[in-house]
Each structure stands twice: as C-alpha cells, then as structure tokens.
C-alpha cells in the first residue's frame, strides 16, 4: 500500500499543525519553529510525490482512485468520544475514532466481449 503523502494540515496565527506520511500529527505553536517545519513538510510531500516511478505500475498504483467527489465520499458516522480526564490531552485525541471515507465503487460497464481462459 502506498503511504499517504505528508501534508500541512492547518496554519492559524502562530500555530501550524502537520501530519506526516505515517499519520502522526504535531502542532507547532511558535511561528519561528513552525515556518521551517511547514516548509520541510511541504518539500517532503513534493519529494514523496515525485518519487513514484511513473513507468512502473504496481498493484497498488493501478488501483482505481477512491472517488473524491463530495457526492460519493460521505463521512462515516462516528461514535462520540467519551470525555477525557482533565489534563490528558493525548488520551483525548486517541479516543476520537478516525472518520473513514465510504464510497460505492462504480459498477462495471457493459462489455462487448470478455477475454480469458478458453477451450483448446
């Protein structure tokens, strides 16, 4: 499976939130720290994207892209998280289930013929 690209999640005031390719998130509150981190993260995502060999097609690479249209991609209902104890910031983040995209694959089009095993 190809790992998701690292990306900057949000920037707000002097705070930058990032997510790396493994899904780990971090919040950088000082702009002096956040700016370089955001730049490195962005460049990392570019390097990751260009590292995919366009001439080589693997099983994962030929998989159909998940439909991204809002009409097809609907957020799955999630169970509300139980309130975390005061001061347990990390515990609270882990308790929130990650929303999973749900989509219906397009049905196979009508074909004129099928190629496969045949008699001989």
């Amino acid at each position: 499976m190809v790992a998701p690209a690292p990306r900057v999640v949000t920037t707000k005031g002097t705070s930058v939130k990032t997510t790396d390719r493994h899904g780990s998130r971090a919040t950088w509150r000082s702009i002096a720290v956040a700016a370089p981190i955001a730049a490195v993260t962005f460049l990392g995502s570019v390097a990751w994207a260009t590292s995919v060999n366009p001439n080589t097609t693997s099983t994962a690479a030929v998989a159909p892209a998940a439909p991204a249209a809002p009409a097809q991609a609907t957020a799955q209902a999630t169970t509300p998280a139980a309130p975390a104890a005061p001061g347990t910031h990390k515990a609270k983040r882990r308790a929130v289930p990650k929303p999973q995209p749900v989509y219906t694959p397009a049905p196979a089009p009508q074909v004129h013929a099928v190629t496969g095993a045949s008699g001989g």
């Binding site: 366009p54 001439n55 080589t56 097609t57 693997s58 099983t59 030929v62 998989a63 159909p64 694959p105 397009a106 049905p107 196979a108 089009p109 009508q110 074909v111 004129h112 013929a113 099928v114 190629t115 496969g116 095993a117 045949s118 008699g119 001989g120």
Partner: protein, 316 residues
Amino acid sequence: MARGELVESFTSMASTITMRVVDPTDGAPQAIAEARRIVEDVAAACTRFDPTSPLMRANAAPDAWHIVPGVCADAIAAAHAAYLATDGRFDPRVLTQLQRDGYVTSRDFTDVPVVDKHPVPAPVIERTPWEPGFDGRRVRIGAEPIDLGGIGKGLAVRWAAEALRDAGAGILVDAGGDLVTRGVSPDDGPWLIGVENPWEATGDPLVVIDATDAAVATSSIRLRSWQQAGRVRHHLIDPRTGEPGGAGLVSVTVIGTDPSDAEVWTKALFLEGAAGIERAAIARRMSAVWVDAFGGIGMTPGAQARIVWQVSHADH
C-alpha cells in the same frame, strides 16, 4: 444510439466463436459464412485431438515431407516465425511435454486455477533449434511433433476478420481468449472488452479496456491446470525447462493489433513469471495486463492507457 448488427455464433476449437458485424452491408451474410468456413478449416487442419487431422498425420512422421492444407502450412510457418521472434519462448514442440503431463484430450480440467504459490525452479534442458522445412503446401515439421492449438486460434481470428473487412462499419471476431475488433461498436462508442477474473469467471471482469481497432488475447491457467502425482501442472510449458512455466502468474492478457501476434506474446510473457513479466513487457513496449497467484493485478503503461474501468480492491 444502437446500430443494427448481424451476429453469428457457433462452436469450434472447443470454444464459442462469435462474429458481430455492425451496420452490415448486403454482402455481410456471405462474408460471415466465409469467415466461419475459415475458422472451421483451421480447426479441422490444425487440431491435435484428431489423429486423422493433417497436422497429426504430419506429426506421426515429423521428419518426413507431407502435403497439408494451405491453412496448416501457413500456421506452421507462422508458428516458426513466432518461435524466432520470441527467441524460442514460443515453441510448439512442447506437445510431447503436454502429453506426458496428461493433457491428451480436449477438455477443461478445472474452473479455477490450481496455483503453485511456492514453485521450485526447474533445471534448464538442452534443446536443438527448431528447423522445419517449407515448400508451398509441402512441409517437414522437424524432429519433434508440434502443437498449433493457441496460434491456430489466433490465426483463425485474424483470417476471419480479414474476410469480414468490408462487411460493415464495425466487426468483432471473438474466440474466447482471442479476439479482434475493427471500426465502430454496436453502441456507437468504443469496443469494450472485459479481462476475466480467473477466480470468478462469471462475475465482474477485473478490468475493462477500450479495445477499438485492437486485438486482445489471454493465456490463463484457469481451465487447464491440474495436479499430477502431487505436482501442479498446467498447459503453458516453458520450452527452456520442459516444465510448466510462468511461476507466480495465473493469466496474461496482451492488447495489440494482430490476434495471432497477441496470442504468441501472451504465452511468451507468461513464461517470464511474476518476477520478470513487467520488465519484459515494458522492454518490448507491449500493452499487457497480468494477474498473479496472489490476486494482484499488474499492467504496463500502454495497457493502463486503455483502461476504462477497474475492479476495486474491496470487490477483488
């Protein structure tokens, strides 16, 4: 808007042969009859399952000269050209190995592939070059008998399509694994061809390709793989070893322009196995799709450009 079409379907070469002519001309019925005659002539001349066929009479004394029907002589010549073009990967002399492994009658062995997921490499054997002789309809096969099954079907599709060339605005000649399309489809759009899922042939295809003005052929072990004395056998013999080849692969589909060439290259690429097929197909600029023993789908950029639909991993 759907167009009018003539459809002819019959059984030959142990397969259902279907011919479709879109917007047929007045001469289309005659052209279809001629195309059908060609297919049946090739089947009768080149079958290895009838000991009285011209091929098998020649195979009985392969080193002697024999007069055979024109389609049989042409098929042997085409097989030799394919042998040279593939550096011997395509070698019809594997007949002896097929018979040794129990494939002596025309039949289906199973409906799902029998897969050896951890094959042991077979040792390479010594083979003399194949040097048949040709003199019009007189042929000398060579030291060993040959099997024209696969290439015979590809040639029948090629020659039938040539007979239908002026029969309408579009044609399809489909012999199961091997097919060719020309011109428009009955839906006024592209000819859409599904690539069979080897594990669920009656379900959705694995991919659907735009095969307009193209030939498509598949070599698959879905119907012709079996166990013999505890060993997995199938009908795609590697002439370098004399054993079933294509380690780790279940099917290979090639999209090209000629059905006989596509048929030859499905076999030659299959023998590269899961480890080598991508490199070999790209090196020869082939449009190929393959399915490995673990259900993975691979394809070259040329094939990917023709994909109009692909099964999702959730369905596959």
